[in-house]
Symmetry: C2
Subunit: 336 residues, 2 copies
DNA sequence: TTGAAAGCGGTACCAC
DNA sequence: GTGGTACCGCTTTCAA
């Protein structure tokens, strides 16, 4: 900038005005300066500008478990979209399910003076780093809350979604349902399992009610399903707790040749192409991400306030896998 | 930092030493300072530090078309992983297929003094912004090259991958193949179409060879497929140009009840669960991302050099959809 | 082992 | 309209 100024015979301040589009520079001078800027390939130094104006860098930080998981990548896409509408950039990082990494990433983002922080937290209890972050910038917990933290939360309507899944299966006269959730350490897995039990109880469905959480491998999960479909009172329909589990369950049903009603939590690519097409509780991850970003900016402009929780409704997308499937013996008789 | 120093009765420089883990501070002083840092909740200001040391912010920029597309999100995940091993953060943004947005994002990333830039470029010709970026930092073109740019490129082995797809179908005695590519404006679509034609020609397969590029809608694509499977010389097998097209083709084959051999370029979730399981050219997007990130850092340490192109091999994953499917009439006879 | 002072590239504030 | 100058928070350099 000093360089540009020198070559144009004007002060550094005038150049600054041009660069920032401020008023008070004659058109002629401005033009000359602009040409010089291009000629010298001048690049404004964001960091230096922040330093004096003591603002925040126009970036929003995002921490998720795994950027490759379609659920999280769609969250990221929604956030990025919303953030960029406001001339900000998204800095995203994977915590890889490690609480330590999570804390380190929070510190790193804070040091880079992000405008806000969106996090899919690993633990239900606040870490020191997370608490510190809340003192500096607006923090939004996405998909899972953290108790006693001064941060907004944007959550899926787990209870409503799970209820719609169970009601759907009950309406198709499934009686013995099972729930298969992801790793027990994940808040949504617990939450959805609880919601499943509530729904089953309130509809008065008969037992035994199977409801288990992971961690699973493809084969341990398949074994569990096989176990549930044997015996005098076999499970007739399954509700899965998220996309990871749904895919694994589909694989198991194919490999072990199981006929089970199915409703998955989370929509996924090809849900309409597998056979039968899978009925799912759709949670609009892009929308969740957008909502979280909006929350950051609204908190930014409205200042401190009591933390609020936004619950984003889900939608049951019926595709057929929820129908009652006749036991094999019966079906064979019917066909012949 | 000045604050911490004042309260400890030491100079700002001493605090700086402690914060940066430099030697030359007595253990006692260091301890006192560290406590004060925690007590005051001191946060180091990355930007200010950069300013004086005139280094680059420890971040790598990534620009893709669409973060929600699993191919790109897996690239991002690979990059993030590799970048974080080196204590950097990833700033990612979606260009949404707009060249103008792409340029703006490049400028924004440059202004933030990223260490390097990884881009899935929209155009095959360099824009001014992209050329400028190459003068400042290492730039890597991922998935698609840009001609005459002083940047490394990391590409999938489109030619080899496509050849393995065509050979596989030919080995299963498919004779009339068709290629369905994504939007014609995308370099890989063109490249894979050309590779398809070469492979078909070199294997001496008879015509007519159908080979078309998008843009497609689900229904225009389905219509095209229906057209190709009619007439005296119907197409018996299809090669698709990327995951988007594969999914759309699968939907079409299901909705319109088409029996076609299929090999898809790009692996995808559930490729093993749909029926028949889809044989694909697997390109390891996470690996591509990692390779690109490595390229940034290797260029950073080795300094300027002639731009190099890294071609990452593909792997044909055979799952069954490449088999020859008997025409409907014949098959019906055989079964009864 | 410690500190003083200059300066990184901008912006704020006020004078001309 | 334009320029001068202090200063943002930190690192560098050199002196104590």
């Amino acid at each position: 900038m000093a360089d540009v100024g020198a070559r144009c015979g004007v002060s550094i301040k005038t150049v600054s005005r041009v660069v920032n589009g401020e008023a008070g520079v004659s058109t002629k001078t401005a033009l000359r300066i602009q040409q010089m800027i291009v000629e010298l390939g001048f690049q404004r130094h964001e960091g230096a500008s922040l330093l004096r104006s003591s603002g925040r860098s126009e970036t929003v930080g995002l921490i998720v478990e795994d950027l490759a998981n379609p659920f999280y990548s769609q969250l990221a896409a929604g956030i990025e979209r919303e953030v960029r509408l406001r001339q900000h950039l998204l800095v995203s990082a994977s915590s890889e399910r490690s609480s330590e990494d999570e804390s380190q990433l929070i510190e790193a983002l804070l040091a880079r003076r992000v405008t806000g922080l969106i996090i899919v937290p690993i633990g239900a209890e606040p870490t020191d780093a997370l608490r510190a972050a809340c003192l500096e910038v607006p923090v939004v917990c996405l998909d899972r809350p953290v108790s006693g933290l001064d941060a907004d939360a944007v959550l899926s309507d787990n209870q409503g979604g799970m209820r719609s899944a169970v009601e759907h299966l009950a309406a198709h006269r499934h009686e013995r349902l099972a729930f298969l959730g992801d790793d027990a350490s994940i808040w949504t897995a617990q939450r959805r399992a609880a919601a499943f039990r509530e729904a089953v109880a309130s509809l008065g469905l008969p037992g035994p009610i199977h409801c288990e959480l992971g961690p699973w491998t493809d084969s341990s999960l398949a074994d569990r399903l096989v176990g549930w479909t044997r015996g005098r009172l076999p499970v007739t329909a399954l509700v899965t707790g998220n996309n990871r589990v749904t895919l694994s369950a589909l694989r198991a049903m194919q490999d072990r040749d199981l006929d089970l009603g199915l409703v998955g939590y989370d929509d996924f690519d090809l849900s309409d192409v597998v056979s039968p097409p899978v009925t799912v509780v759709h949670q609009d991850p892009v929308g969740l991400g957008e909502r979280a970003a909006q929350q950051v900016f609204s908190r930014l402009s409205s200042g401190r306030a009591t933390p609020m929780t936004v619950v984003v409704p889900t939608r049951l997308v019926v595709r057929g896998s929820g129908r009652l499937i006749a036991p094999k013996g019966l079906r064979a008789q019917a066909t012949h």
